[in-house]
Symmetry: C2
Subunit: 336 residues, 2 copies
């Protein structure tokens, strides 16, 4: 009996594969390497000392995906595969909708065919849009402000409809806040294509000398220092949340959403300061214009995940900064 | 230069093809006959005395769809193809999402590839969910209450994102109220599979003796006679709205939604009474329980379509009843 991990070579996928293998799960991984590298799979094996089956396929290809289900005894799916860059989603929305939504539909159809009705889905705090207040609980109104966010929100709705149509399904919607950091070994981590969209990989690329300085988008937000406040969570904590969610869905039925965050908000400048202290690296920055759509503050109320999954984030911002830097320093060009 | 009509053999599609041909347009029709009959195409030719190119393909099949674009000089698309039964959408949501959303994505990708950026899309008043008041204007909040409705709402959002990504697109979202009736010749009309989901085909099947009596779902709604009030529109009026929308998008860019309704609400019992008067057929009925999700009243404010498209419905409820009965009477088993 195996856990199928789609997008298992990606940033969060690879860290989750490590935790799954460490906990003794058999896993089958699929990835099309559209935004990840084969080397990540070698590193997962190196860290865990364990092997697993891998298929280089695209979940949009029904025949390829069917082969995975027919050749393995899949008992649940952790579904990471999807495109994730907000800006790019505005530029090429059809590709985002097709990859994320159609990809999930094809996957669900195959799961239905093979009677595999347990899924942990990679959702995002982006489904809260511009939240009316913080901290955010799972029952806040949902709303998306860009195509990427809409794909996540639509998939959540599709999965709820799927459960209504067939109450045998058991689905956890994991709403990630801002995952950063890397595995403590420094062997796997975030390896973005091109200019990073997110804060931490940008900071580490400044630290390594690949970028000159950090752009801080606006310092007139309604926060303690004027820069945007987010809920950063160590990717290993996040990965562990998937295991807790997996345990939960194996024993239950229904669709439940869980915030995976620390419940603590840090500003951009807090992160910069913490990074400098944790690593001894200086991060020059400039204040630039606000990015359209950015909000003041966004952080989770992670109580539900604690109460229902028995999960909470253990690592602090210093851990996140140290591990992010350890990864970047040891892999200045990512997996290349 | 041709107008491509997807789902052109269906109920609204076939009536629109007639109007397009009568107005001198060249059309190319595609249909997979999943919920329509080839005979409808013969009838369109018979009514208009004109021929057109037809492809029996599924828009989900990219290669087949590409053939249509490569073999024809398509200048705009009227996109009807999609599944439309609310109850069925609750039972088999994946099929609805896949057909309607993925189908539209594949179509849009092909349109983009062949630089055809003009579309009239079959949306629905269902995107207003349970409206806060009546009449409904296009700027009412949008919300869907079942998978079918969500496919329409999601496609509207996808098309808006498509325009944001490329301002060359010109798209009309036509929000249909309740189309009934048939072409005055009685040669094309609604031919539902199995038990009709909608009022008028149920009434005509009772009149023809195929069903014993009409079920009226609830008589304690907040309306003049307790039965639900809807905005019934003659399908030929609706078809003509597509021609007006087509003219509009040929000269404009952007995405605009238009209500296609009469602006007048009739109750279930109003329709029964009008049908009996217009046709001389007695319609026995029983009052049964409310259907979950049904609302008191739903009717359009059609002002925007009148102002911006120069379109308004011309036919009254008597016309709708007479033409529906004429179709049913002359085609007791539909197209079979």
């Amino acid at each position: 009996m195996s856990i199928l991990v789609t997008g298992g070579a990606g940033y969060i996928g690879s860290h989750t594969c490590v935790e799954l293998l460490n906990e003794g799960y058999d896993i089958v991984v699929i990835d099309n390497f559209s935004n990840s590298k084969p080397e990540a799979l070698n590193r997962i094996k190196e860290i865990t000392g364990k092997d697993f089956k891998f298929y280089e396929i695209d979940i949009l290809n029904r025949e390829d995906l069917e082969r995975v289900f027919s050749e393995n005894d899949v008992k649940a799916v952790i579904h990471f595969a999807g495109l994730k860059a907000v800006g790019e989603s505005v530029e090429i929305p059809l590709k985002y909708y097709h990859n994320n939504i159609t990809g999930t539909l094809v996957l669900c159809e195959m799961m239905e065919k093979y009677n595999v009705k347990k899924m942990v889905f990679s959702s995002s705090a982006t489904v809260y849009g511009n939240p009316k207040s913080v901290p955010i609980t799972e029952d806040f109104p949902l709303c998306a402000t860009n195509p990427y966010g809409r794909t996540k929100l639509m998939i959540e709705e599709i999965l709820r409809d799927l459960y209504i149509s067939d109450n045998d399904w058991s689905i956890a919607l994991l709403r990630y806040f801002n995952p950063i950091g890397a595995h403590e070994t420094g062997r796997i981590g975030e390896d973005p294509n091109g200019i990073p969209n997110n804060l931490m990989p940008y900071i580490t690329q400044v630290a390594i000398g690949k970028r000159e300085r950090l752009n801080v988008f606006g310092n007139d937000y309604n926060t303690h220092d004027g820069t945007g406040v987010r809920d950063y969570i160590h990717v290993v904590d996040l990965a562990k949340g998937h295991l807790k969610a997996l345990e939960k869905i194996m024993d239950n039925k229904g669709v439940e959403a869980y915030n995976l965050g620390t419940g603590v908000g840090y500003s951009v400048l807090d992160v910069v300061k913490n990074f400098e202290e944790a690593t001894g690296q200086k991060i020059p920055y400039v204040i630039t214009e606000r990015r359209p759509g950015d909000i003041d503050k966004c952080y989770a109320d992670p109580t539900k995940a604690y109460k229902e999954l028995g999960w909470k984030a253990e690592k602090n911002l210093e851990d996140m900064c140290r591990d992010a830097w350890n990864w970047q320093k040891n892999n200045p060009r990512g997996y290349d």
